[in-house]
Amino acid sequence: MTSRAARQGLPVTGTGCITAVGRNLDENLAGLFAGLRRMGPSARVRSTHEVRYPVFEVDGSVLPEGYAEGPECLRCGGLALVAAREAIQSACLLAADLKRRRVGVCIGTTVGSAMNNETFYRGFRDGKRPDMDAIAGFLQANPSSVVARELELNGPCQTVTNACSSGTVAVGQAAEWIRAGICDIAIAGGADALCRTVYNGFAALQIMDKEPVRPFDARRCGLNLGEGAGLLVLESAASQAARGVPAVGRLVGYGNACDAFHISAPHPDGDGLRTAIETAMQQAGLASSDLAFINAHGTGTPENDRVEGQLYPDLLPDVPFLSTKGYTGHTLGASGGVEAAFSLACLNAGMLPASIGFAEPDPGFPGRPVRTNTPITGAAALSSSLAFGGNNAVIVLAKGERA
């Protein structure tokens, strides 16, 4: 990778991540390289489906006070706060630093913005007088607002609700704020929580697997839901230089394009994904030979994995790829943020974890994810997210100075 391309990107100075695998990024990485799959029937989300679909659930004891109880949307804010605090600390930023600067917050979510509290709605339907706490909770729950409020930040606030591409989009959008000089620092990524309505919805669509998820495997038949948060601290070059903090990595490219095809199935040829990848790579000034790996969306659904498994060998030949959703489940709005944090960590570690859950290649497409922990030497990676309804978002990340 050319040094010119490396300089073009925006510094990432901090990362934070919480998933079923671990409460912080180090725990997550250790779990990935150890092949840890912490899934099972949900302790919190109950349903009367015959099948108890496995989920990847976070240990709620780490959530800040007030965020574990109450409506599910509030849990997202709590998860975002945990990841935000880790990210800020890893960026060597103190509360006083944050107040002195313009700091934006851009967080992707699905559940964090959803008014679907069943307890409240049942009470409403039954003609009772339901407690308004669920509504008050919803009005306080917007994840970007939660982080901005708790950390007393003065800068733009945006919660992205692009369904499954939200986290990746949020990282790309926050970078645009910094480039435009609207803020010097931004906290960006995604946060999402397990939720009964979402669980029932995916069950109705028949795209959840009752077995542990098998991304890209010939026998795959759906996703497992997960929850968590992954956030990056993005900074202007000037701000980073002034603070003298080494970069965890750099964001060098962002692409966003719509399939305009179907409300719940991806474009069969991956048209929107192709456009998003081309845009991101062009912005990064990179060729596919510069990529160490692709962190695929890889949900484990028949259609999604087929589209990616067909496209990557064609558009980015010989680039290793994996899905990390075998470790975390599909964390919906959080996935882009979680996967960005993972990608940077893997680049710096010079190692990819196995694309866990994959065993048997699918003869229907040429792509084969990495089967074992794999050393890598490249300095850049691509992370992609494909959303329900056809939005495709891609970011390109480069290695940092903290390898």
């Binding site: 109705a204 669509l205 028949q206 179907h262 409300i263 719940s264 199935a265």
Partner: protein
């Protein structure tokens, strides 16, 4: 039962301009013909369970049953006993 099935399909999938008379018993429901797609298919599974009490556990079974009103009616009749 076929007329009820046609009405369930029309109402459940919001085929506003159609009446049961417009759907031939052997007309293709998916692809050409009525033009339903994969999302309609999973909705149809729910509609069949709700209105006829028959569960389609496997979408491969579903695909064969969903060819036409005739094939679906036959499937329902066969599985209704239980």
């Amino acid at each position: 039962m076929k007329d009820k099935l046609k009405q369930v399909i029309i109402d459940g999938l919001n085929l506003e301009d159609l009446t049961p008379a417009d759907i031939g018993d052997d007309d293709a429901l998916f692809g050409e013909g009525l033009g339903l797609d994969s999302l309609d298919a999973v909705e149809l599974v729910i509609l069949v369970q709700k209105h006829f009490g028959v569960a389609i556990k496997d979408m491969k079974e579903g695909q064969a049953a969903f060819q036409s009103v005739n094939t679906l009616a036959t499937y329902i009749a066969e599985h209704r006993q239980a």
